[in-house]
């Protein structure tokens, strides 16, 4: 038993050196690779990443462009109000059918400090569905990417002399 145990133990130790996992390929996805190769590749890529990050940091520090840096800082504070208004106009025009242009905007007020756009106008519909169109218009404004929230207007339908209804509205859009 002693001889068996000693030989078994010696062979186990020898096996751990001879049969190392690094020598055997592993299937990763559709490829068969050796672990050592993978680890070497990972080390090489991480070293390259560190070197490139350092090179970029050196570039940024040495770049003598103080005015460009000031411009970048100031530019980040500019609100693209033109794009916001174009977005509102696109939503408004989306309700046109043939000659009918049910949503009319009469007032627009942008406040840069509050980042808000207050719009007011009137929705008219000969079929009497002006409130539905208004609700859809407000939903359309909410879907604009630069808009964080839209206040809910007061909904009322005033009969028009020639038939149909009118829904005046005032909403405030808060920008992102």
């Amino acid at each position: 038993m002693l001889i068996f145990g000693a030989v078994f133990c010696l062979m186990s130790v020898a096996l751990t050196y001879v049969v190392s996992p690094d020598r055997f390929p592993v299937k990763v996805g559709e490829n068969t690779v050796r672990l050592k190769d993978l680890e070497d590749e990972e080390r090489r890529l991480k070293a390259a990443y560190a070197e490139l990050t350092e090179a970029r940091a050196r570039l940024l520090q040495s770049a003598d462009a103080p005015v460009l840096r000031q411009v970048e800082t100031l530019r980040s504070m500019v609100v693209p109000i033109g794009s916001v208004l174009l977005g509102i106009e696109d939503v408004r025009r989306g309700f046109r059918i043939a000659d009918a242009d049910p949503v009319a905007l009469s007032t627009v007020r942008y406040d840069g400090e509050r980042r808000s756009v207050a719009i007011g106008g009137d929705v008219r519909d000969t079929a009497g569905r002006s409130m539905q169109i208004l609700a859809s218009f407000v939903d359309g404004l909410r879907s604009l990417p630069s808009v964080a929230s839209v206040s809910e207007p007061e909904y009322r339908a005033t009969p028009l002399t020639g038939g149909g209804t009118s829904s005046p509205f005032a909403v405030t859009l808060i920008l992102r």
Binding site: C9, G29, E41, E42, R75, V79, L86
Partner: protein
């Protein structure tokens, strides 16, 4: 030398116990080795799945650093000078704003219904450290569409290159998508971002075609759609029919134009803005 029966018995038991211990030790070594195999396999799978992303990141970073080095060598000084003279000038930004605004209102008047009415600057210039702020009031008459277009163009004030019109996150996404679907076009994609903005706006189709020429139809369509949704659609729609005259009269870049308020009264629009100097 003879041993007593008791000694022989104890020796035998001792050898048997030692043999058992060594066998148990050997089993422990083999079990641990088997666990090691399993762990190494899991490590290999983990590294193997993360490697492609790491390769892509390193590739993108290498292209970015190469482009930035090229820019630093060839164009940075020129852009810094351009910014110093036109975007954030040491003299008052007012005159350049006036010239560009008049050119824009003439062009938009021909293309639509916009009419320039009045432009005034506050006499006082406020100092904020190294930056001087000049407040102005602009009055125009026109439709919401035309006025919004004017404000969109003015919102690009200070932008000199294509990359200035796209957020850093969208630039990163564009480059990542290019690296994934057309890696050989990555340097061209970097160059595209450093292209002069008014040069691009004067003929956007030609510049985009140059970038996308070597790509498959599907890749080119996807990248073009990405660029348009990232902000170049606004550049195109704002500057169409206007960029060539701005370029010809050397009216771009213009100073930064920060709109503080807009008020509409029927077809009259009053815009309060701030522009900057040093």
């Amino acid at each position: 030398m003879t041993f007593s029966p008791q000694t022989r018995q104890r020796f035998g038991v001792g050898c048997f116990s030692a043999g058992l211990l060594l066998t148990a030790l050997a089993c422990g070594i083999l079990a641990s080795h088997a666990r090691l195999f399993s762990q190494k396999r899991d490590t290999a799978v983990m590294i193997g799945t993360q490697l492609p992303k790491l390769k892509s990141t390193v590739s993108l970073l290498a292209a970015s650093v190469a482009a930035e080095q090229m820019f630093a060598r060839q164009a940075l000084a020129a852009r810094e000078e351009q910014a110093s003279v036109y975007v954030l000038p040491q003299s008052s930004p007012g005159p350049r704003v006036v010239k560009t605004l008049q050119e824009l209102s003439l062009a938009l008047g021909k293309l639509g219904s916009l009419r320039f009415e009045k432009l005034m600057f506050d006499p006082a210039v406020s100092d904020e450290g190294s930056i001087k702020k000049l407040t102005g009031h602009l009055t125009v008459r026109g439709s919401l569409q035309d006025t919004a277009r004017l404000l969109t163009i003015l919102g690009f004030g200070g932008d000199m290159m294509v990359r200035d019109a796209i957020t850093p996150a969208d630039q990163e996404l564009f480059l990542r998508q290019t690296e994934a679907s057309a890696p050989l076009s990555l340097p061209a994609a970097e160059d595209f971002l450093y292209l002069d903005l008014i040069e691009y706006a004067s003929d956007p189709d030609a510049h985009e075609q140059r970038l996308l020429a070597d790509m498959s139809v599907d890749t080119a369509s996807a990248l073009r759609a990405m660029l348009l949704s990232a902000g170049l659609a606004d550049v195109r729609s704002a500057f169409t029919g206007i960029a060539p005259s701005l370029k010809e009269r050397n009216l771009w870049p213009m100073p930064l134009f920060d709109v503080r308020s807009v008020t509409r009264d029927q077809d009259r629009w009053t815009v309060e803005f701030v522009t900057y100097g040093r």
